[in-house]
């Protein structure tokens, strides 16, 4: 077996990113201590990481709280928070609306049916996937707020009509496709409207836009979206990235990560005192 087969590029990449198990890390290290070719591969990947993610990037910098994150956290703590849990309709569509956190099977992936289908244990993340709508304050908005279509869309959003808001924001996006603010609210609206796939696509574009004021929340809601889809592993990675940003959502993300991890490993964490975000 060649080095490339035993230690493929993806494994080296995960090593450089600190994502390998301790056992795999040791195996790779013991190997490249005796194999200059693989040492070169590791060193080059480390250099790629250094060039593309230079020191001082926002992930390690604590940013000052923004009005929106403060509003979000305030909204999360409020007793009147609107919890939206997606629920599968019998016909496969989605229904939306306020529901108790534990009642919605939104995150449950399709289960095999029929007399011969194997029984696969499915972990329910629907309570952890529940989200509230981040508060929107038009007076603080710039740029996109000047677009009358955006204002109308956000009117729908504020009224709780997230399906209409998502459609209207998508229309605005056609005029301003890269605007992180519109993308963020379009993504969140899609999530709240029961379309996590659309939400993921839009929120990922916010992340691609880089260090915008929406980066941290976009990552957080991405984690929620992945939980809604039942993809806890990806949700955990997103939450780790939120924590790495060391911003306003660090504590909330850490608590959610602990609960997701406990759920994945079969344990149950006690419900937090406040409502889950």
């Amino acid at each position: 077996m060649s080095c490339q087969e035993r230690f493929p590029d993806e494994m080296l990449e995960r090593y450089v990113r600190g994502e390998l198990s301790e056992r795999d890390r040791r195996a790779l290290e013991d190997h490249y201590f005796e194999c200059p070719a693989c040492l070169e591969r590791v060193e080059t990947l480390q250099a790629v990481a250094g060039v593309l993610a230079p020191a001082g990037r926002p992930r390690t910098a604590r940013r000052a709280p923004t009005w929106r994150t403060a509003a979000l956290l305030g909204g999360l703590a409020a007793a009147s928070v609107l919890l939206i849990v997606l629920q599968q309709k019998p016909d496969g569509g989605h229904a939306t609306g306020p529901r108790p956190p534990a009642s919605g099977p939104a995150a449950r992936p399709p289960q095999p049916t029929g007399p011969t289908a194997p029984v696969v244990p499915v972990v329910d993340y629907s309570d952890l996937a529940a989200i509230s709508a981040p508060r929107y304050e038009p007076s603080s908005l710039r740029g996109a707020g000047r677009d009358s279509g955006f204002a109308a869309a956000m009117g729908r959003y504020t009224a709780g009509d997230f399906a209409a808001a998502a459609a209207a924001l998508d229309a605005v996006l056609r005029r301003a496709p890269g605007d992180p603010q519109i993308l963020f609210y379009a993504g969140v609206s899609a999530l709240l409207a029961g379309r996590p796939d659309d939400g993921v696509t839009r929120l990922e574009k916010v992340v691609i836009a880089g260090d915008t004021p929406y980066l941290e929340e976009a990552r957080f809601y991405l984690a929620k979206a992945h939980l809604q889809r039942g993809d806890a592993a990806t949700a955990e990675r997103e939450l780790q990235r939120v924590i790495a940003l060391r911003g306003d959502l660090e504590a909330v993300a850490r608590e959610l990560l602990d609960r997701v991890s406990a759920r994945r490993s079969g344990g149950r964490m006690p419900a937090p005192a406040s409502a889950p975000p």
Binding site: D9, E13, Y15, R26, E34, L52, V200, I208
Partner: protein
């Protein structure tokens, strides 16, 4: 690219054989001239790579590299290495132990490895640091020469921490296409760097001395 292009290294990668490791350990134990320099030249790069990977802190890794090599030399001088033919594994293990100690002692002054406080530290070959800087420069140049589609995949991977599935969604291609582009891009970068450097860690001097 302003850097001169050096002759490429041999096509087949060498490995540090068990015999070479045992002989090097024995030379250090006997105090043979040049043996310690050979050990440093052989292992400072893998040690540095391991420490960077585990501490995620280049500055700390550079400091710890010297500590690891010092601990290794001391163990060899005192004949404490039980399996000299596994010298490389011993150095790696020493590095990991120091990392654990370092991570536990974050925020406090790191205590030196046992018995190393009074021992003069080995000098790191300046080439290693120059090579690291040069490698970074070469990587930047290599990235600039990549096909746009390949570079985007690397940027989304490393700048945005996206998984292949996330990148696939954004680019409208399959996950396999993303993985292929990424793998191809990395190979190009590695090859670009390899063709422009003379990176044969300690092997030349080791072969001169040990045959």
């Amino acid at each position: 690219m302003s850097l001169p292009k050096a002759p490429p290294p041999p096509s087949s990668a060498w490995s540090l054989t068990a015999e070479q490791q045992a002989l090097l350990a024995e030379r250090v134990r006997r105090g043979e001239a040049g043996a310690e320099e050979d050990l440093v030249a052989c292992f400072q790069r893998p040690v540095l790579a391991l420490l960077i990977a585990r501490t995620r802190d280049s500055e700390a890794a550079r400091d710890l590299t010297q500590e690891v090599l010092l601990g290794t030399l001391l163990a060899l001088r005192q004949g404490r290495l039980r399996e000299p033919e596994r010298l490389a594994a011993f150095v790696a293990c020493t590095a990991r132990n120091l990392v654990f100690k370092h991570l536990r002692s974050r925020g406090r002054a790191l205590q030196p490895l046992e018995g190393t406080a009074e021992v003069p530290a080995p000098g790191l070959a300046p080439d290693a640091l120059l090579e690291a800087a040069e490698r970074r420069e070469l990587v930047a140049a290599a990235l600039a020469e990549l096909d746009e589609r390949e570079r985007v995949v690397l940027e989304l991977t490393w700048r945005q921490d996206f998984s292949p599935a996330q990148i696939a969604r954004q680019l409208g291609v399959s996950g396999d296409v993303v993985r292929t582009r990424k793998s191809r891009a990395l190979k190009k970068v590695v090859e670009y760097v390899r063709e422009r450097t003379r990176l044969r860690p300690g092997k030349d001097s080791l072969e001169r001395r040990q045959g």
